[in-house]
């Protein structure tokens, strides 16, 4: 049973195996202390930027809800407001638990754009976000007109949101992040299909 290797003392071999295991275990500990995530990670960047992205979606959903009596629009936006606010809460709690900053003063989207060196070169806009002018347009509109403005803006917003969530799926490793990113892709894609249909109903001649 011991074979040719039987000449090497067994104790030394066991010690070597134990040492290798200890190094592996310690490496895991050092790389992710307490299951943590670093402030520069894709996980943290995604949680920060998606919170900002969601916050604007919530605001736009509130705006159109105050301006429309359409039951389907009101149901859709109720769903968006409740879901995305809850998701902001989840991401906020992660950043707290990871003990990392809730902001990156160098600007947003660095986790997706491959960390440009130097400083933020100004204000890189987050994809899909409505501009202040577009928000004002929504605020001024009413009824069906407001619904159309909202659907157009939110379609762009959601498509970019799905792209961000997909990027997180390829860049992040944390299980909770992956699960939420997956849920966002699924949920927002379904809403994109619905909104596309609602927009067509409102813009194509009957």
């Amino acid at each position: 049973m011991t074979g040719a290797a039987g000449t090497a003392p067994r104790g030394r071999r066991i010690a070597a195996v134990l040492a290798a295991l200890a190094v592996a275990a310690a490496a895991l500990l050092v790389l992710r202390p307490g299951g943590g995530v670093s402030g520069d990670s894709a996980e943290a960047g995604f949680a920060r930027d998606m919170s900002t992205h969601h916050a604007q979606a919530v605001k736009m959903a509130f705006l159109v809800r105050d301006r429309s009596d359409d039951e389907r629009v009101r149901t859709l936006t109720y769903d968006m407001i409740a879901t995305q606010s809850a998701q902001i809460g989840m991401m906020t709690a992660w950043l707290d638990a990871w003990n990392v900053p809730h902001t990156d003063p160098r600007g947003p989207m660095r986790w997706m754009n491959g960390h440009g060196h130097g400083d933020a070169s100004g204000t890189k806009a987050m994809p899909g976000m409505a501009t202040p002018e577009q928000l004002r347009e929504l605020e001024k509109a009413d009824g069906r007109a407001a619904e159309i403005v909202f659907l157009r803006l939110m379609l762009t917003h959601h498509k970019a949101g799905v792209e961000m969530a997909r990027a997180a799926q390829t860049r992040a490793e944390d299980e909770h992040v992956l699960r939420l990113a997956r849920a966002m892709v699924r949920g927002q894609q379904a809403e994109i299909d619905l909104m596309q249909q609602m927009l067509t109903e409102r813009t194509s001649p009957a």
Partner: protein, 199 residues
């Protein structure tokens, strides 16, 4: 196990005792564990230090009131670092205002985790440009002129304040990193958009 295998094992054990090998396995094993433990402890210590401890000149204030009122409030810091405030928060989603804000609305934004950057109304245009660029890149910040400021630029979060002379001061970035939605925030998760939009 056959008898011969057991005999061989016994022989080996005897040899190990009589030949007095240097126990390299054990030495390496414990050395590696010791080193790894030292590195892990150092790393854990360094990464658990709160970032705010490195900001020189930081003023802290705890136990601030947080009631809602529509009446004017007498604050004991200028700009105020917290206290009772208006039910409406000032919109603080990366917002640059060109006129002074009402304290009572701005304090409500601080409660939601915003950093409020105030500056003297006559701050040089290049300084203003640098500051507003920062504000526009960071959600949960807002900026406004503030008359009679005793320093050219003042950064305020709920219960935290820092006075700086220059927009390029590296402490500005550290203050934002530490306190935008930082641990001092009384109402984490509350919004910065959807508030009072005008100065």
């Amino acid at each position: 196990m056959s008898k011969s295998t057991r005999n061989r094992a016994q022989q080996q054990r005897k040899n190990a005792l009589t030949e007095r090998h240097t126990p390299w396995g054990g030495i390496i094993f414990f050395t590696v564990i010791g080193l790894v433990a030292a590195v892990a402890v150092t790393f854990a210590y360094l990464s658990s230090r709160p970032p705010s401890t490195e900001i020189a000149g930081l003023v802290e204030k705890d136990g601030l009131a947080d009631g809602h009122t529509t009446s004017p409030v007498q604050y004991d810091a200028s700009p105020p670092m917290g206290g009772d405030h208006d039910p409406a928060w000032q919109s603080c989603d990366a917002r640059v205002y060109d006129r002074p804000l009402r304290n009572e609305n701005a304090v409500h934004s601080l409660e939601h985790g915003a950093v409020w950057i105030t500056h003297r109304p006559d701050l040089h245009i290049s300084q203003l440009a640098a500051l507003s660029q920062r504000v526009k890149a960071v959600d949960y910040t807002m900026m406004s002129p503030y008359p009679d400021l005793d320093s050219p630029i003042v950064l305020t979060a709920w219960g935290r304040q820092l006075k700086v002379d220059d927009a390029s001061d590296p402490r500005i970035g550290r203050f934002l990193q530490a306190f935008v939605k930082g641990p001092q925030t009384p109402e984490k998760g509350a919004p910065c958009n959807g508030g009072k939009e005008t100065a």
